[in-house]
Symmetry: C2
Subunit: 310 residues, 2 copies
């Protein structure tokens, strides 16, 4: 049994590899919901959808988000009407948000709806939001008079092309882990922290009271995959955010952030020379190819990780 | 200045004719919102949209509702997920609902949003919801244990193919006319009651406190166009509903329903023989072609009405 702490793209790719190595019933992904938003009245869960669409082979691989074979007619009309269209929603993707919104409004919780969507796509792994409660990531922008904006206003609207001076997980203090989350962390053989952004993807998951505690308790059974390769994020602003928030944007910095959580860090061959520095932080090191161009590379990464992790 | 009490399709066609006869700035339509619904989290105003799309030449004429050149990809995804899809929403049409929902959620009222949408389509007439407050039509179904369902559950989901024993306008008692509605009725030269369903299209408009009073006061300046021709509705369940709720489903029955509101009823040539019976109800009669296959016939109907109405 393997439980994965997951953000969006990087986690989705890792999970696609894991699905080639381990039966889906043995996998549980606990997914970030700090990026979630309500827009145009619709409940949108970008990381859950990225994981679902990726594992269902339905993701648009070029774009990196949303569904393949997508059309954009609703957005075109919204634009014609002068509506807000900084957050692009494809027509097929809208069907997912309509479904989720309708189910939530009729009283279902997010974990139930998430499972329904996963099953409709034929996915048999456990797919859980970190929490069913509203937990929302906000970032403070020092170059905009310390305005605090929601994650997607930062990530999508500003294309994460601005400085960040603080990150806050609104609602975290009172959020409860979704049903099954703590058990999945407690009962598994291995916890994998996916190569997602440590601050704004894994951070919100760990901010749900109870989750960090159980991962720390299971430190010896937890392995993280570095999202930083050669000092840069594979995708997104992890390196920049780490630096701006006082972390070393390197595998050593990742090791420092995760050392209370994970006994082992998987780093890319490009960072081989930093393995001693990682181990000097008290974190064992696995060196392998971590760049996942597709499920085959992801499966190789997972195999190497599970083989060498003790 | 002409003010029209309007439902959906029949009113939209009449208005399209009126736009050919009178400058748009001289026209105000006061539109039924009893059919409105929130579905999948989206605020949907079917009659307002039917009027807007029709006047913008954007309606799908064959279907009779929604936009031309429509795609259905969101609905297909919703169906794949097992979602509720009894109420069809095209992708372009969804853009309208996204816009309306976003604007309402940011505090705009329905009449403001309705005007914004009309202007975006290049429409210069006054287009007002009867009220900005939630007024919702419910019908009681005697063959389903007197269950009360929302209008669209009756009209669309059951395709109005069931008996109705009662109609109720939820929220009507406390609804206020939208800004401009009473003035438009007070200050115009002529009020036209469009050939819409008297019970579930015009009924909810008149149920907003204040609207019936001003129309009754302006009885001499009000003319109704019968939605019933030769004992049947041109479209929809008006005849059936009238019968089930104790009205004569004929132009005479329409005259009885409207005689306190309108001094004149326009009836189709097919009902020429009933003109004396209509006038016996104290309602003057204009006999002309009332079936509007397109804007040209609608314009002819409007011209005949305005010419003969005293």
């Amino acid at each position: 049994m393997i439980t994965v702490l997951a953000g969006g793209v990087g986690a989705a790719r890792l999970l696609a590899g894991l699905m080639r190595v381990v039966p889906p019933h043995d996998i549980t992904a606990i997914v970030n919901v700090g990026d979630d938003l309500v827009l145009h009245g619709l409940a949108i869960s970008p990381d859950l959808d990225t994981v679902t669409y990726t594992l269902a082979n339905a993701i648009d691989a070029d774009r990196g988000w949303g569904l393949a074979d997508e059309t954009w007619n609703a957005m075109a009309m919204l634009e014609q009407l002068g509506g807000e269209r900084w957050f692009n929603l494809g027509d097929r993707d809208l069907g997912t948000h309509l479904y989720r919104t309708e189910r939530l409004s009729s009283g279902a919780d997010l974990s139930t709806v998430t499972t329904e969507i996963a099953r409709a796509w034929g996915l048999d792994l456990g797919l859980l939001p970190a929490t069913n409660d509203p937990l929302r990531t906000f970032v403070t922008l020092p170059d905009e008079n310390d305005t605090e904006v929601s994650f997607q206003r930062y990530f999508v609207e500003r294309q994460h092309n601005v400085r960040v001076s603080a990150v806050r997980f609104d609602g975290a203090a009172t959020a409860k882990p979704a049903p099954g989350v703590l058990d999945a962390l407690d009962d598994c053989d291995t916890i994998i922290i996916a190569p997602s952004n440590p601050i704004v993807s894994i951070g919100p998951v760990l901010a749900v009271p109870g989750i960090r505690d159980v991962v720390e308790r299971r430190h010896d059974r937890t392995v993280a995959v570095s999202p930083i390769v050669a000092g840069a994020a594979i995708k997104g602003p992890a390196d920049r955010l780490m630096k701006e928030l006082g972390h070393d944007p390197s595998v050593v910095g990742v090791a420092r952030m995760y050392r209370s959580l994970a006994s082992t860090l998987v780093i890319d061959g490009a960072d081989r020379d930093l393995a001693p520095a990682v181990e000097a932080e008290g974190v064992q090191c696995i060196v392998t190819d971590t760049i996942m161009r597709g499920p085959a590379e992801a499966a190789a990464l997972v195999r190497a990780t599970l083989k060498e992790f003790r």
